[in-house]
Symmetry: C2
Amino acid sequence: MRKKVEKPKKNRNLQKTRAEILEAAFGEVFTRGFQGVSVDDIVAKTNLTKGAFYHQFPTKLDLGYSLVEEVIQPMTYSRWIEPLKKYENPLQGILDQLKQLIGKAHPVHLQYGCPLNNLVQEMAPQDSIFKEKLATALHNWIEGIEKELNRGKQNGFIRPEVDTRQVAHFVVMAHEGFYGMLKGLNDPKAFQALYNSIEKYFETIKNI
Amino acid sequence: MRKKVEKPKKNRNLQKTRAEILEAAFGEVFTRGFQGVSVDDIVAKTNLTKGAFYHQFPTKLDLGYSLVEEVIQPMTYSRWIEPLKKYENPLQGILDQLKQLIGKAHPVHLQYGCPLNNLVQEMAPQDSIFKEKLATALHNWIEGIEKELNRGKQNGFIRPEVDTRQVAHFVVMAHEGFYGMLKGLNDPKAFQALYNSIEKYFETIKNI
């Protein structure tokens, strides 16, 4: 009996440990970069031992891969794709989300940029598995946007001849570009300039 | 007499040393990130001693600031602004440069992204002086593009009501976004998708 009860508990604990490490690592990597953070730094932010860390993630790179797959990908989905589903017109949804999540974000948050973009810029050239995981995250984002745009096209908000895959590429590029620029510019007016341009671009694809 | 001859020679040598260090550092930082490279790594890529390095750059951060001001800023100017001057229509110049420098670039080069964007993403949140230097580099780029767009407006290629500052912001964002995306995606078709969208955006501002 004991064994049967213990096993699921152990699994639950392992999952809790994993979640605790990933949460701590996300914050550290987001603010200091992947190469700027050591396993010791991450362990110090948890109540765990270094042994518990290595039990979950044999190397720091393994942790990085899991950060992309288990934290950043679901986060991208829930911030940038899920909210579009409540809009009849996804173009309006994309503009509203940009305003909400970037335009109204506190400068302290914006100074760290986008967790996915940061890792792409820092780690894609350093490690081929990292690059593969990051490319998958970007592709899933593009595909998610494309799907919403296709729905918008079916609902008559987007011109029938528009290549929604192409627009989805551009939309994701613009999100990463917005974050990247706002991180580099000490200029609160920059968001509006960028926003107005993407709004104008949408004019070229929307059904009138 | 000897002293008078020696002094300019010493200055020339110091300048040569500085250039040698900056060149080596640029390559290392471009391919491995600022935090991923040590002073030792950089010195090893030169024929100089560590003493010669520290004589030029008291700290690694000082080297980083000089990389932005003495290497990356002039490079940005000569790659993305200077070539526009030979175009009557700067919008065409911007599109041609994107095709030339990104669309036709070898994938090996694109995998490392844009030297300026990389440093912005990595170092802007880490150090306020770095951020200031990087913001200046971005602002100079935006201003350079704005100036060319104003010329294009005067020549009748851009609609009179267009806010050229805003367009310049968007153009620089798109450059950084292009580099950022291509670095993350293993997809040679991505450039065309992005390029077509910026071309469409230009349709909204050009004089017909």
